[in-house]
């Protein structure tokens, strides 16, 4: 197993995230940093000892604006993740536990949500809500729960076969308490892992939306909307574009890295990266028997290979292969968010 501290990238990711969260929470303690103090006489000034990152088009201190922008970006990221986890876990839990019609319905829903390009979908839904921070969080949450739902569903399918869950069902514990009391703790580590990359995706989505002018609105600003404003002054004040961009990259990179590391902890038998057999399931059309899945099934039946090693005895072959697919596709999909696709 990988030692956390010896992995420099992981150590960097964790300490960076700790730092950026602390700064965002504690930024109000620094009296000198006022993101809204207008000083028109000193507008668009390059970095100087007084203004570490210069001033913007209204003479506001850019360093302060970036720090407060980080507050908004991280807040949107975390809350959108919570929203997405809430929907995803509920849907995944219900369809994994009950199966049958409920499962069919929810999984078709997932397919449909996955099939339309996320940017188009989010923008259209953004039209339906009033503009504001809450609606951005909701919109991002509503369109990023599908991966979590798939992962949780396949985990639940596996856990449902365990004896303690079957026994709980047998002695007549109501389904709701079986789900929350018996199954949820077993899939909890998976949820945590998936949620870190969901935060990364949410931050990317928010910045893209804000950049297109469809996200965070003035006077509030996030890293994405700061970049949008800096576009106008790119020629004279390129430093305005630099800082928010670098912070977005570092934050998203760190969350993704953290997700990778947590995955290793959640499933000690898997060394990170090794199980990444690509199975594109991201935009699967509404039918379960797409070519890739069929192929996945076919492959899992082959004589012992690497896949077999991590399968637990109780898990039927099909579920295991399915689970791997969804995990990978989900990771790919959430990493892709914010990119142009």
């Amino acid at each position: 197993m990988l030692e956390f501290c010896s992995d420099r990238q992981a150590a960097f990711a964790a300490s960076y995230l700790l730092l950026i969260f602390l700064i965002s929470i504690l930024v109000f303690l620094f009296r000198g940093l006022d993101p809204d103090k207008i000083d028109v006489l000193h507008k668009l000034q390059p970095p100087s000892p007084l203004h570490w990152f210069g001033t913007d088009n209204m003479g506001r201190d850019y360093f302060a604006r970036v720090l407060y922008g980080g507050q908004v970006s991280l807040l949107v990221g975390v809350l959108a993740m919570l929203c997405s986890v809430l929907i995803g876990v509920t849907v995944g839990m219900l369809s994994g536990y009950f199966g049958g019609l409920i499962d069919g319905f929810f999984m078709r829903l997932v397919d449909i949500f996955l099939s339309i390009p996320w940017l188009i979908m989010v923008t259209v839904f953004g039209l339906l809500f009033k503009k504001g921070l809450l609606s951005i969080i909701l919109v991002i949450g509503i369109f990023s729960w599908m991966d979590i739902a798939r992962i949780v569903r396949s985990e639940v399918l596996a856990v449902k076969g365990r004896e303690y869950v079957q026994y709980a069902d047998f002695i007549g514990i109501p389904p709701l308490s079986v789900m929350t009391g018996h199954i949820l703790p077993a899939v909890f580590s998976t949820i945590i892992t998936a949620s870190t990359s969901t935060i990364a995706g949410a931050i990317m989505t928010e910045s893209a939306l804000s950049f297109l002018g469809l996200g965070v609105q003035q006077p509030m600003s996030s890293w994405g909307s700061l970049l949008q404003q800096s576009q106008k002054y790119l020629q004279n004040a390129p430093y305005m574009a630099l800082l928010p961009g670098i912070l977005i990259i570092l934050t998203v990179y760190s969350f993704n890295k953290l997700g990778d590391i947590l995955r290793v902890f959640a499933e000690p038998r898997v060394r990170a990266g090794e199980e990444d057999m690509p199975r594109e399931a991201g935009g699967k059309s509404g039918n379960e028997e797409t070519a890739q899945e069929k192929c996945g099934e076919g492959r899992a039946e082959n004589p012992p290979r690497k896949d077999k090693e991590r399968e637990e005895a109780e898990i039927p072959v099909r579920e295991a292969s399915e689970r791997k697919e969804t995990e990978i596709s989900a990771r790919e999909a959430s990493e892709k968010r914010g990119k142009d696709e």
Binding site: S115, L127, I248, G282, E335
Partner: protein, 316 residues
């Protein structure tokens, strides 16, 4: 073979219909009145009612849906609420522009990702792998528009080498060198946005293949690394990669929303963003339907491609 394809096509049809229903419902849910975009403040209520009637906005929702679907099937996407131009002609002008940008970019990224991914996958943990994988991690975390802004600053403002907006210089619409100069920056940005993801895909696929028995056998027979990599591993890696090709179909139309907006490239992406900002709902709806259908067609295509290159699928 034909039977498998026919089955897949039949399954895609209801999903397509469902997508159109969802698009329609979404637009009906929007909290604004479509007639607002047609009227001026000085119009009387009677005039407004007449416009509402003539656009069929008073009919039952089901009738409106069927009429809209029927128009769609005849290639009639309706008219823009603001400029009153036919969306069909707008799309016909803009789709080739987007394809012109997307096709070369995607293919370049696709072709670059194969050697990069194979190299990284076969040297897992060594420096080429660390370099390539590090590049991918950072590339995935980089917002496309930020990279675009860096390029604009460097090549457009600093070195003044390349134009940064649009597709043509005014008055030089027929000039190919001029088009290429405009093309270069968005092309680079798009390659950068597709490459990390594709490379990761090839890399992890190659890692999986590298552990297969046939690689061990080849090693035992004394085959060289490059021989194993390109003659044996590459073929197996290419199979899943082909599905990526089918799934990239919708990208041809809606893949470059951000890049097109940054560079004011007159394609579907910038058209869509403008329509969203102006709440021009027939345009938004058309693009939504178009991209949804292309996704389903793309999935269909990738399944069919897969079944051609890998006959094992058809038998199951």
């Amino acid at each position: 073979m034909a039977k498998y394809i026919a089955k897949r096509i039949l399954k895609a049809v209801p999903l397509l219909l469902l997508i159109t229903v969802i698009c329609f419902v979404l637009m009906k849910l929007a909290p604004y009145d479509a007639v607002d975009a047609l009227t001026r403040p000085d119009m009387s209520q009677a005039e407004i009612d007449r416009i509402r009637e003539s656009y069929g906005l008073n009919d039952p929702v089901a009738v409106q849906y069927l009429r809209w679907l029927n128009n769609l099937l005849h290639g009639n996407f309706g008219y823009s609420l603001l400029s009153h131009t036919s969306i069909k002609y707008d799309l016909l002008i803009r789709i080739p522009n987007t394809i012109l940008l997307m096709l070369p970019s995607y293919l370049t990224a696709y072709l670059l990702s194969i050697p990069l991914g194979l190299l990284a996958g076969s040297r897992r943990g060594k420096w080429p792998d660390k370099l390539i994988d590090g590049f991918c991690s950072i590339g995935i975390a980089t917002p496309t528009f930020w990279f675009a802004m860096l390029l604009i600053y460097a090549f457009g403002y600093r070195m003044k080498l390349l134009p940064i907006l649009g597709m043509h210089t005014v008055g030089m619409e027929k000039s190919l060198p001029d088009l290429l100069r405009h093309f270069l920056l968005p092309y680079l940005v798009l390659i950068f946005s597709f490459l990390p993801d594709l490379t990761r895909f090839v890399r992890s696929s190659a890692i999986g293949q590298w552990k297969e028995d046939y690689v061990l056998v080849q090693k035992a027979f004394g085959a060289g690394r490059s021989e194993i990599l390109f003659r044996h591993v590459a073929r197996n890696v290419l199979i899943p990669l082909i599905t990526k090709l089918g799934m990239a179909l919708p990208l041809l139309v809606t893949g470059a929303v951000i890049t097109e907006t940054v560079f004011s490239w007159p394609g579907i992406g910038s058209y869509f963003v403008k329509a969203v900002q102006a709440m021009d709902y027939p345009i938004v709806m058309s693009v939504l339907v178009l991209s949804g259908s292309l996704v389903i067609l793309g999935n269909l295509l990738s399944d069919i491609l897969y079944s051609i290159v890998d006959p094992r699928i058809r038998s199951t």
